[in-house]
Symmetry: C2
């Protein structure tokens, strides 16, 4: 058994995208940590196929899972040495957490935003929710500001369990902020906070499977959305954002993770974004840390984990990239109704 | 005259890509600084078309260029207020310079690398040279390391005025380092330093318009190149890198700037990279700061500048993004000879 053969076996067993390099990344992560969540975080391999690969590595005699730890066996250590696999090395800047930006003027609203977010509705599985840390949201706003997409601009937030609309409005910088969410609890929460704090946020209940209301089409300078990670769902939500943009020069922000999307899926998404008339101007991986959601033991991938341990709430392992696109052509997206299940696909791990 | 009409005029005059948003970005930069180089840096609009736009804005009565400064006129200030244009805000993290990474183990070689680089051959216009700061090269190596593309890996550097091969070899982490350059001075320099310092770097003189030597095809885990910015030249060099990769899971790094490439060109490049079988995994703008080259007054864009001032050597305005791609399919690139001028196109500013 070698890395190439193992990767082939995993592909055959799962019908999922998985490369020899992915196998190497898992072993590199296992050289750095024995903890299952840290390995998931470091490996950057979708959780579902990673679980299959870990089990295949156990069968190959490279790993064992005793005492709740993931450990390399002597055979595993020899393989790693021969293959020249080095320990995974995370070099996130200690100041900005690897995001590259300063909070700048956003620092002024940080305390208030944390205070507001303390009372937020809890994430629920029905809508595939799971929100990022308050710090991640604040840095997101700073990043948008630094790219000229916030101050004086009209912003649409599609799905807002991260409370981006409130953070954006708190800065006082945007010209207009509109948020859409399917979850009545979130719409009510944003309305209530906006009313109490005197913030101008329009909060509307909307199911993104339905076409955007006509008044929101071609009406915004900037959109933000952190879509569900299925290919169809991601493209549907991103496409709604694109169709809300005024035209060339308008920008969109999306979150995309390696935890539930292979690089093959990333490529399919990128092809589509380019076809919509957009270009990628920024792609910063590990920009967003997620707060562990309360339904972790009922998520799809839980039963597949070779080591089961409920991670602490502030022990992030689910991270995602921040992607910025800008339109260089009029948007090529149709604002039509979507039917069927857009939330699950074979790589989905948390629904 | 409004922003949309001005953008239309600039497009008609130059036949270059230019949006109303680009016009807004120039004015946002002019709200932040009166210095021509700082405006070029902040605006993120290709220099050639930016020069045309500045002159059009002067004709429109929005800007004046007296006393070597770029200043908004009262009419310009009114326009900016009405259009809701906010000052450009740069929020680079003060620790990592906006790159998001720590040097980590690369810090150990920093002093030695700076010492070596002090004697490097000077950049010459013949080969469209212009090197990044030593700090940029060191962070580049750290970034590659953090992505698992350095330690234990075989690395090919295509065009090496940034001395990436020496910095990589100094860390002792890669399994193999090969550098190619057309410039005999650089090949000699790398060979001489490698010999003196006991570094294993293979340095070969090679014109990248010629096919890669067969022994280098499908032979590397990682490539690095900082190509010339013409569309054809960029794709030619990036394509050489792709064809040097072993297959799925292998990675490539490229520098790409907004100074000489519009977002329309960025999009064309991204479409091609995806078609080669790759996906973009990282795109960090302003990762690289360039040391001002000695031929600045003879570069193509100099005569077009409305304000002429030679920037100090350590006054960076030319920055570029670091792009990482990873193959998800076997590389779809032909290793064939390229003829004709691959260095110039209408957006070229420094050749």
């Amino acid at each position: 058994m070698d890395l190439g053969k193992l990767a082939e076996d995993v592909r055959a067993e799962t019908s999922l995208f998985f490369t020899e390099r992915d196998a190497g990344r898992i072993l590199a992560a296992a050289l750095t940590s024995e903890d299952i969540w840290r390995i998931i975080d470091l490996a950057d391999v979708p959780v579902m196929v990673l679980c299959s690969a870990l089990r295949a590595m156990e069968r190959a005699g490279w790993l064992n899972f005793s005492r709740g730890r993931v450990a390399l066996t002597p055979a595993g250590q020899e393989l790693v040495r021969e293959a020249g696999i080095a320990p995974a090395l995370e070099l996130h800047c200690g100041r900005c957490g690897g995001r590259g930006v300063e909070l700048g003027p956003v620092a002024r609203i940080a305390e208030k935003f944390r205070e507001i977010a303390a009372d937020r509705p809890e994430a629920i599985q029905d809508y595939d929710q799971g929100y990022v840390t308050e710090e991640s949201t604040l840095y997101r706003i700073a990043f948008m500001w630094s790219r000229g997409d916030l101050a004086g601009k009209e912003l649409l937030v599609l799905g807002d369990d991260d409370l981006v609309s409130l953070a954006a409005a708190l800065t006082g910088a945007p010209k207009r902020v509109v948020m859409l969410d399917i979850d009545e609890r979130l719409v009510e929460f944003v309305r209530e906070v906006a009313g109490r704090e005197g913030l101008r946020v329009e909060a509307l209940r909307h199911d993104l499977r339905e076409p955007l209301p006509e008044a929101l089409v071609s009406a915004f300078d900037t959109f933000f959305c952190d879509p569900t990670e299925s290919l169809r769902g991601f493209l549907a939500f991103a496409g709604r954002g694109i169709s809300a943009l005024k035209g060339p020069g308008a920008a969109g922000y999306m979150g995309l993770t390696r935890r539930e999307a292979s690089l093959a899926k990333w490529r399919a998404i990128q092809e589509e974004l380019l076809a919509y008339g957009a270009v990628l101007t920024d792609l910063r991986d590990d920009f967003h840390d997620y707060v562990n959601w309360p339904y972790i033991e009922s998520m799809r991938s839980w039963e597949h984990l070779p080591v089961k341990r409920v991670p602490g709430r502030d022990e992030p392992w689910y991270r995602s990239a921040l992607i910025r696109v800008e339109l260089v052509e009029p948007p090529a997206v149709k604002n039509v109704r979507l039917s069927g299940d857009i939330f699950t696909d074979p790589e989905a791990a948390t629904t």
